[in-house]
Subunit: 406 residues, 2 copies
């Protein structure tokens, strides 16, 4: 219903709509529906006992500070811990390179806020993360896409795009949301080189970096970038802005993530964040520090990896077993998602109601393409469903696909 | 230092700077400085034991849900509790009229986001809350000010301003930040009538409504507005968007506040919030519900009132005792702040370094005037310092004032 309020809303809200996923989640939270639609971690791996202990310590020993306002940059010991951990991956940063954000969605929003003027171009993979599309649409972004295959963005196509004038390049190098695809080592190097040559910053979104189930760890783009000028500068002052999150390794309910960037960028992000929410929950930052700054964390990540690897394997096997010929899917080496491509004749948006009727849900792939495409694709989440439900869900999904192949 | 990054930042960041208060807080957090500069609650009244119990219950009984992603609107029982409480003040709303935000700073930001196009006018009191100035500057707002006296905004001056075309009116009716002044009952009525006549929405910011230390409770503007059309509509669908917070009655470290608005506005706010941080910390919402949905809450608010009333009284008495002739101040009936006006010849920004040298701090009043003015004023916070420190701090401040009167 159109009301007089609609006449008052700002222009930037015109293309503001609830994300497809969000609307789907409402449907798929109905009982009996096996949902591969969300991007939720498995609640079974939340370290609840650890949180109980941590919460008790934080409130008993530093309650007055943990419940008070905090600085916009974030809790200093947490920033220092993140800087130390980055060091282990070969990245020389100090706490001054780190800002804590209210989930990495806030990092996406702040990137739009400090960089995007209406009409500015941002280069994204296609498909790319829906939350980024949503965040930057609010700033009037013009998306430029780059072709994408089993090794990630086709970096040989970078130069022709960068010549258009690009504000920054958005990349999810590890187990990309939505496809599960990993950017190859060679392409990471090429991305860094070309971006530096053209002076275009890279925004690296890495929520799943630690959730690798097989193969060798690849260096984050920010590390490769740092290697170029590491001798010149004592702390990071390169061309990459990096974000990661505690949502997948601790719990999303804390809304805690972080950005690593050159100090000048951190300063501007901090100024922008001040107007958004003053600071990220002090209490949650103290909690996360208490839980994560402990050798136990390493074993906890192993538990998550083991759990999700099993679920991924079960889903891959079920797809193999039940899907008809002509259906293809990615085999992600980590993360939470895989990507299914159906024969051209099937529109995943169109078969969605039939799937829900069969009590199974997914996200139609079209939503992840900022400039259209992907009508015959879908994203499946494997982290949030128990193995037996994954098998049953894929069976149901395969039935819907077969019914629509006829 | 100007760097190449500065060339990349978006236009909207041009007038983005760290708030004066924030920079001051850095100085004033030095040891020995008695700071009246911040807006911090007293940590002595944080209900730490209650939080410990609540955290234990939440994690034990509903840990898997409390640590997971939540809906953007907020935790349903918390929204319902807020709707029930509003009912006690005579406001008929349902949970659909309520959205949870990440502190009320986020409510301010979202208001800018959904309403303000570059160049749109917003009517504010002068002085007004600094966080609002900061939040809306990022959206290219043009502030229009309305004169202000001991009874709040001079509503007889409203019509001439509304004729300019105003997107919304921003008002802090109770114990305003920064002045401590309360909008009189008559003016509340007039505000509602004129705003309705001109079809201009009101944004009511009420962080301190429950922290009244004397005098009778005055109805919130949203309640007066609802009375106009209460018979027509079963739930609130009026002209006021209202925000309040748990920061002053529980703890700011949770970053929890809420908005009450017509359903159409809540929907748009929710869409906007999705792009900002997906949802407010689920865990903190469960905690707040556990702590606040209890008859104990009433006695807790009495404790806060008693503590702050004492501190206010101590500050008023000390001002009386130590300040030289020609210095005036407000006598707030609640809240966290009072407002001092010095003789015209003193510039509070200019004497700030001398004050810090004397180990006492305040916020110069100029920062709260979006269009200039207030050079001889200052904001003093009385909630965060213990009584003996308040006396000593005012003594020091009076010395600085006297030194600069000569």
């Amino acid at each position: 219903m159109h009301t007089l309020w609609d006449e008052r809303f700002a222009l930037r809200t015109d293309n503001l709509k609830s994300s497809a996923i969000r609307e789907l989640l409402k449907i798929t939270s109905l009982p009996d529906v096996i949902s591969f639609a969300g991007g939720l971690p498995a609640p079974e791996v939340f370290p609840i006992e650890r949180f109980k202990e941590a919460s008790d310590i934080v409130l008993t020993e530093m309650g007055e500070k943990a419940l008070q306002y905090g600085t916009t940059e974030g809790y200093q010991p947490l920033r220092e811990m993140i800087a130390r951990n980055a060091g282990k991956y070969g990245l020389k940063i100090s706490a001054d390179n780190v800002m804590i954000t209210t989930g990495s969605q806030q990092a996406l929003d702040l990137m739009g806020r400090i960089f995007i003027n209406r009409g500015d171009r941002v280069l994204v993979e296609s498909p790319t993360y829906l939350g980024a599309i949503q965040a930057w649409n609010a700033y009037g972004v013009k998306f430029v896409t780059i072709p994408f295959d089993k090794d990630g963005m086709q970096t040989q196509e970078l130069e022709s795009r960068l010549r258009l004038g690009i504000k920054f390049i958005y990349v999810l190098p590890n187990f990309q949301n939505p496809t599960g695809v990993t950017l190859s080592r060679e392409r990471r190097k090429q991305l860094v080189e070309v971006a530096n040559a053209y002076g275009v910053p890279i925004f690296e979104d890495d929520p799943y970096g630690q959730l690798r189930y097989e193969g060798e760890h690849l260096p984050p783009v920010v590390v490769l970038d740092d290697e170029i000028r590491a001798k010149e500068f004592p702390i990071y002052s390169g061309n990459v802005i990096y974000t990661s999150t505690f949502s997948k390794i601790l719990a999303p309910g804390l809304r805690l993530a972080w950005v690593v960037a050159p100090v000048e960028v951190i300063k501007k992000l901090v100024q922008a964040k001040q107007g958004c929410d003053l600071n990220t929950s002090t209490f949650n930052q103290y909690l996360a520090y208490q839980v994560a700054n402990d050798p136990w964390m390493k074993s906890h990540i192993c538990v998550i990896r083991k759990t999700y690897k099993e679920r991924r394997d079960v889903m891959l096997k079920a797809l193999e077993e039940y899907m008809p010929e002509g259906v293809q899917w990615t085999k992600p080496k980590g993360g939470l998602f895989l990507w299914v491509t159906l024969p051209e004749c099937i529109d995943t948006q169109a078969i969605f109601p039939a799937a829900v009727e069969q009590k199974v849900a997914f996200v139609p792939g079209g939503s992840f393409h900022p400039k259209g495409g992907g009508h015959n694709t879908m994203r499946l989440n494997f982290s949030n469903s128990k193995p037996e439900l994954i098998v049953e869900g894929i069976k149901r999904l395969a039935k819907v696909v077969k019914d629509n192949l006829k």
